[in-house]
């Protein structure tokens, strides 16, 4: 509870932080005619063009400058965001005379980095049922290449708590911007919840054994088929060390294919983002694997933004045939899906069928959501569960209380931390 109060105070501090005063700048009286991004060999005029070099959110922030009075102090933070997203050495902004009197153009000049070194905290989450989860990495960037080494301890995503080291090499442009390559290596120590071990001992289903550690290597290549559709293909080679000092080592080697589509539509003061993806992990005998299974998932995500208001719809489902390792089984009742439910209460071993839907409404930092989902194993009955929640979200910081809808007692779950 102490953590929840501390989190509330921190978020309140973030919300109360006042923006820099733009009245000090004499150019604040001018209207922004257009915003121009330029880099080595490219220029984009955001009044008439769009770009996929930057995230939708940042693109929205930049285009929303057009037609409004200039806020010079805001340009510094936008330049920093561009620098981060484009891994640039420096981003300089200039205000220059526009074509129309009393209007100015804002130019951002992106200077590419020769090398960069950064520390990233990608997740830091406290869940009142599952404890802390976090991941961070140090990343060295040289041009399009990234080398990263990180630490993870996560009790949120999977039926297990996995803790260990991840290493990543990424080349974001292999000869062409349309092709990228990534190689990830992971080594994790696993801890099991009592509910999981108890369920395993009485498990009537065909569920693979628990393990004490696992290592994985995952080389993948992503190609832009046609914008905005991308295809990722690769392999995941994973080894599991059985429980006990001389536990058997089992292999789960799978081919991976993932198709992702992203589209942004912008209207007068509105923005719509549509994401769809489907993926297939296929571990077959030909890959000499102990686990033979195929895992298929598909999801769609739609976001509508109008001023301070955001409506978000996220639907997702998955299906596993064959015998998949526990780390590949589906989970509901975490910080992303069916929030408010305890995953160990719903299905401590995870399931091989899942369906989930989430509707969210944001007004500024205020957030309300309704989640529903079902997780089950083949031949089990399907039980739909629902939850509602309220929270605050500022940037990546989130504080939420989620309540499972069920008969009997009300047992809310608190979640807070950094949730990308």
């Amino acid at each position: 509870m102490k953590c929840v109060w501390l989190g509330s105070l921190f978020l309140a501090g973030l919300l109360a932080a006042s923006p820099q005063d733009s009245d000090n700048n004499v150019n604040a009286r001018y209207t922004v005619e257009t915003v121009i991004l330029s880099g080595k060999g490219w220029t984009t005029d955001l009044q008439s063009e769009t770009t996929n070099k930057i995230s939708t959110g940042l693109l929205h922030d930049l285009t929303s400058l057009i037609g409004h009075k200039l806020n010079p102090s805001h340009l510094d933070s936008l330049a920093q965001s561009l620098k981060k997203e484009l891994s640039a050495r420096e981003v300089i902004h200039r205000i220059v005379r526009g074509d129309v009197p009393e209007e100015v153009r804002v130019e951002f000049e992106v200077r590419p980095a020769r090398a960069g070194l950064a520390m990233n905290v990608n997740q830091f989450l406290y869940n009142s049922k599952q404890g802390f989860s976090g991941s961070g990495e140090a990343a060295l960037t040289t041009g399009p290449q990234v080398f990263a080494l990180g630490l993870v301890s996560n009790a949120d995503w999977l039926p297990e708590r996995f803790s260990g080291i991840v290493a990543r090499y990424e080349d974001r442009s292999v000869g062409t911007d349309r092709l990228s390559f990534k190689f990830e290596a992971e080594t994790f120590h696993t801890q099991w919840n009592q509910a999981t071990t108890a369920a395993m001992s009485t498990n009537p289903l065909d569920v693979p054994d628990l393990y004490r550690a696992r290592q994985a290597f995952q080389p993948t290549a992503t190609v832009v088929l046609f914008r905005p559709l991308t295809l990722t293909v690769g392999a995941r080679i994973e080894r599991f060390e059985g429980q006990g000092p001389a536990g058997p080592i089992t292999a789960a080697d799978a081919a991976i294919a993932d198709l992702h589509y992203h589209q942004t539509l912008e209207g007068a003061g509105t923005q719509q983002d549509f994401d769809a993806d489907c993926s297939l992990h296929s571990a077959t005998r030909t890959l000499n694997t102990d686990y033979v299974y195929s895992l298929r998932t598909a999801g769609v995500r739609y976001q509508y933004r109008h001023g301070k208001q955001v409506i978000l719809e996220n639907a997702w489902g998955g299906y596993i045939s064959g015998l998949a390792p526990l780390s590949d089984r589906f989970v509901l009742g975490n910080a992303e899906y069916l929030r408010g439910w305890n995953k160990y209460e719903i299905d401590p071993l995870g399931g091989n069928r899942v369906i989930s839907n989430s509707v969210e409404y944001h007004y500024g930092p205020l957030q309300a959501f309704y989640d529903m989902g079902a997780i089950w194993d083949e031949s089990q009955p399907i039980v739909a569960r629902h939850s509602v929640g309220l929270g605050l979200r500022e940037s990546v910081f989130s504080l939420a209380v989620a309540i499972p809808i069920r008969a009997g007692h009300v047992e809310p779950i608190f979640m807070m931390g950094i949730l990308p």
Binding site: V26, D76, L117, V396
Partner: protein, 204 residues
């Protein structure tokens, strides 16, 4: 005949080190400051002192706001024991649609003070008119030294929050952007040496 450097016991290495480190201590000669006294406060004239220059001037001409900080210190001895210190902040901007060089200057409130449509030298003078140090507690026959430090505040780094979590650029932390700084030193002087004048900060 011995070389002058040898006579002064300064080695070539000493000269080399002095040459290398001299730019790190940009304290100007005492002569470059003109200080006036209005009976209560000491004021510094903008004559011969220019701070709207260099990289900060380029930032201004790119449309940014640049914050300048002027710190005036009074010392009992040659810049070792400071007994008075005042700090003034100025926000300067440059009108990108203005005809010629048109600057605007303001001070953080309260009370908020602002001037627009100023030339470069007028903007500098406007700032200097607001720089002063009270002489209360300073005896008329007491010797003192004065130091003026002018520096820019580097642009604020963005919050470390990004769309994918917290991101800290270690190169920014290890090699922070340098601010521009000028130090002017003047003295020794006594209050009784001054002719009391109402003129504040104006050049000439």
């Amino acid at each position: 005949m011995a070389e002058p450097s040898r006579g002064l016991q300064i080695s070539r290495r000493g000269w080399l080190m002095a040459g290398l480190f001299a730019p790190l201590f940009p304290a100007r000669a005492a002569d470059s400051l003109i200080v006036t006294f209005d009976g209560d406060n000491l004021h510094i004239s903008s004559l011969g002192v220019h701070f709207l220059q260099g990289k900060s001037l380029n930032r201004l001409k790119d449309g940014s706001t640049v914050e300048y900080v002027a710190t005036v210190g009074l010392f009992r001895d040659q810049f070792a024991s400071q007994f008075k210190r005042t700090e003034s902040h100025f926000f300067v901007s440059y009108d990108v649609l203005g005809t010629g060089d048109v600057f605007a200057v303001s001070t953080p409130g309260p009370p908020l003070r602002r001037a627009t449509n100023l030339s470069l030298s007028a903007a500098e003078t406007w700032c200097f008119e607001r720089i002063g140090v009270a002489t209360t507690g300073l005896a008329r026959d007491q010797q003192f030294w004065l130091q003026l430090e002018l520096r820019t505040v580097p642009p604020k780094l963005d919050s470390i929050l990004g769309p994918r979590g917290i991101h800290v650029d270690l190169l920014d932390v290890l090699i922070p952007g340098s601010d521009e700084k000028q130090i002017f030193r003047w003295g020794p002087k006594r209050l009784e040496d001054f002719v009391v004048t109402r003129q504040r900060g104006r050049a000439g």
